[in-house]
């Protein structure tokens, strides 16, 4: 049996971070892009909690994770409102086709 250590958590968070970036870059649907952002935030969250637990840094990391969860919720609420506004205006949410503002 392998003991689960800090490295395992860091690998998972690095993978989540990479998936998040990949999602942001490749997806065309605005909602999917926002899900990619969510993955990035959660990767950082895992990092904070894992470091706090295995580095014996006290509770700072956990507190930070709580703040991030709250902020992610706030950001999701505002983001979805903006995407809804986009849908009302353009009748789709494909970010590649929303490019009126190019020179």
């Amino acid at each position: 049996m392998i003991e689960v250590g800090l490295t395992h958590f860091l690998v998972i968070s690095a993978a989540l971070f990479s998936f998040g970036i990949y999602g942001v870059v490749t997806r065309k649907n605005a909602v999917m892009v926002l899900m990619g952002v969510e993955l990035i935030l959660n990767a950082a969250n895992i990092n904070f909690v894992a470091f706090a637990r295995y580095g014996n840094f006290g509770l700072n990391g956990q507190i930070m994770a709580l703040f991030i969860i709250i902020l992610a919720a706030a950001e999701a609420a505002i983001a979805l409102a903006i995407v809804l506004n986009i849908y009302k205006t353009f009748a789709h949410v494909n970010i590649d086709e929303i490019d009126n503002l190019k020179e």
Partner: protein, 502 residues
């Protein structure tokens, strides 16, 4: 922490508390006076001026507060110091100007039934920015950046009058969310290495060569991504032209001045508290060897100003042109940061003070003209110098100042920046910045050419502007001209306030 020390610590964030109270007041008054929204801008003024009063009253208050560690006295959530107070004043003054701006703007007037929301969101931005300039802990830095961002995403698409409003807020949101995600990941790596999110702890950690260079470089670049997005530095600037063009023009002006000032203050404080090992007698900052901020920022700033200036050359929309010009100015200001000395810091502060006046002035004139003609297109400026002589002259002053020609304030700002660069033996960089200024002359003067040399068939259509607007524009233009010849008070002020609490 007993109740008494809690009470004294309120002094340190009195302006922020005032702004938060004003925000709540605006929301409540919006609900009570459902029919009559005229009162809301005045509550906003009241909030801003009382916050200004508290900043001025506590101007010499220095210290670190809201301790995160019982072991070390210098580790707190916020550092109150004169550097922060200077930027708070800058932010509050530009907010007051923007509220006047918003009261005049036709775009905002058309959505006046939602004025309560508008001013509440503006106050959300102010609160975020005020915490950004004082935060000395990565948690608070991240939270304040997000507070600023979340309010400004909504404001970018606030008016919903045209398709481009919605598009601007979507673009701002997506770039912003990714940038703040990157920054957060960088912060988590720093936390893992240092064991604390405090900047003073980071500094202590960097005194010893413990860190893994590769990881630390990655973390520093990721954190810079978040800040670089706020100040629209080169690889993170893609949102700027689109958002500036699509957002309501009062918000564009606000983003280009106040939120940029807060971003720069944050960057300077991060480097100054987190990375500076010691300061020698000449005021040069010696940075921990692990991450070469100087070369990094110089590369970024050269990229930023070159990209900004060359893209601005073929813009036909004046708002979009000013967006690129603000990218270029971010490049110049970054050079002041890159000097990494007290001289460079003073140059940045002088630059920002003047930049605030000239940029808000330029956007205000563009707004007044756009309200009348319904367009920001440069071809619609033909003959504008004859149709509205006052606005024509004022815009000329602002654009010449943005180029950096005497006898305007912009010249003094650039002069001090270049002196700081030459003092630090960065002559090569100064030459590049100078060449960039020459390029910028072309696109600023192009507007003047359209205004004065190209005739249009509508030359006789004079248009009227209200007395208060005339007063506002003349005041800003006069201030710019005054700062071009009598700038000693500003320099003395900056010399006295560029101090940090460590």
């Amino acid at each position: 922490m007993d109740l008494n020390s809690l009470y004294t610590s309120f002094n340190y964030i009195a302006p922020e508390i005032t702004i938060a109270v004003a925000l709540i007041m605006i929301v409540i008054f919006d609900l009570i006076f459902d029919k009559n929204k005229k009162i809301i801008p005045y509550i906003a003024y009241l909030g801003i001026f009382s916050a200004l009063f508290f900043v001025a009253a506590n101007f010499n208050l220095t210290g670190t507060n809201y301790k995160v560690s019982s072991l070390n006295e210098s580790m707190g959530m916020i550092s109150t110091d004169t550097f922060g107070s200077f930027f708070k004043i800058l932010i509050l003054v530009s907010s007051a100007l923007i509220i006047f701006f918003s009261k005049t703007s036709e775009e905002i007037k058309k959505t006046f039934e939602r004025a309560g929301e508008y001013y509440a969101l503006i106050f959300g931005m102010i609160l975020g920015m005020m915490f950004m300039v004082t935060a000395s802990d990565l948690i608070l830095i991240y939270l304040s950046v997000e507070l600023l961002s979340l309010s400004s995403y909504v404001l970018a698409g606030f008016t919903k009058l045209r398709d481009r409003n919605a598009e601007a807020s979507l673009k701002y949101l997506i770039y912003g969310a990714v940038a703040s995600g990157l920054m957060l990941f960088g912060i988590s790596l720093v936390y893992g290495m240092v064991g604390s999110t405090n900047l003073a702890a980071l500094n202590n950690y960097l005194q010893l060569p413990l860190a893994n260079v590769l990881t630390f470089t990655a973390a520093a670049v990721l954190i810079f991504a978040g800040i670089g997005y706020k100040i629209s530095a080169a690889p993170f600037h893609f949102w700027t032209p689109d958002v500036y063009e699509g957002a309501p023009i009062s918000i564009t002006a606000y983003l280009s001045v106040a939120s940029k000032a807060a971003g720069f203050a944050l960057l300077i404080r991060l480097i100054r508290i987190g990375f500076v090992r010691f300061i020698d007698g000449d005021g040069n900052w010696h940075i921990s060897g692990i991450f070469d901020w100087q070369s990094f920022i110089i590369i970024i700033s050269i990229l930023t100003m070159t990209l900004g200036n060359f893209s601005a050359l073929w813009q036909n929309n004046l708002k979009r042109m000013l967006a690129y010009s603000s990218i270029a100015h971010a490049g110049y200001i970054l050079l002041g940061v890159a000097v990494l000395s007290n001289h460079g810091l003073m140059a940045v502060m002088v630059y920002f003070f003047i930049y605030m006046i000239m940029n808000i002035g330029a956007f205000f004139v563009v707004m007044l003209i756009a309200d009348k003609t319904g367009s920001e297109d440069i071809d619609d400026y033909n003959g504008m110098g004859y149709r509205t002589p006052l606005l024509g002259v004022a815009l000329t002053v602002f654009l010449i100042s943005l180029t950096g020609l005497p006898p305007t304030g912009g010249f003094i700002a650039k002069l001090y920046l270049f002196i700081a660069l030459v003092d630090a033996n960065l002559i090569f960089v100064a030459v590049i910045a100078l060449l960039n200024s020459v390029v910028s002359l072309y696109y600023y003067v192009r507007v003047l050419k359209h205004m004065y040399l190209t005739r249009s068939d509508k030359d006789d259509l004079l248009f009227e502007i209200s007395l208060s607007n005339k007063f506002f524009v003349t005041g800003l233009a006069a201030l710019i001209l005054l700062l071009g010849i009598y700038f000693t008070p500003l320099l003395d002020l900056v010399k006295n306030v560029s101090f940090f609490t460590l």
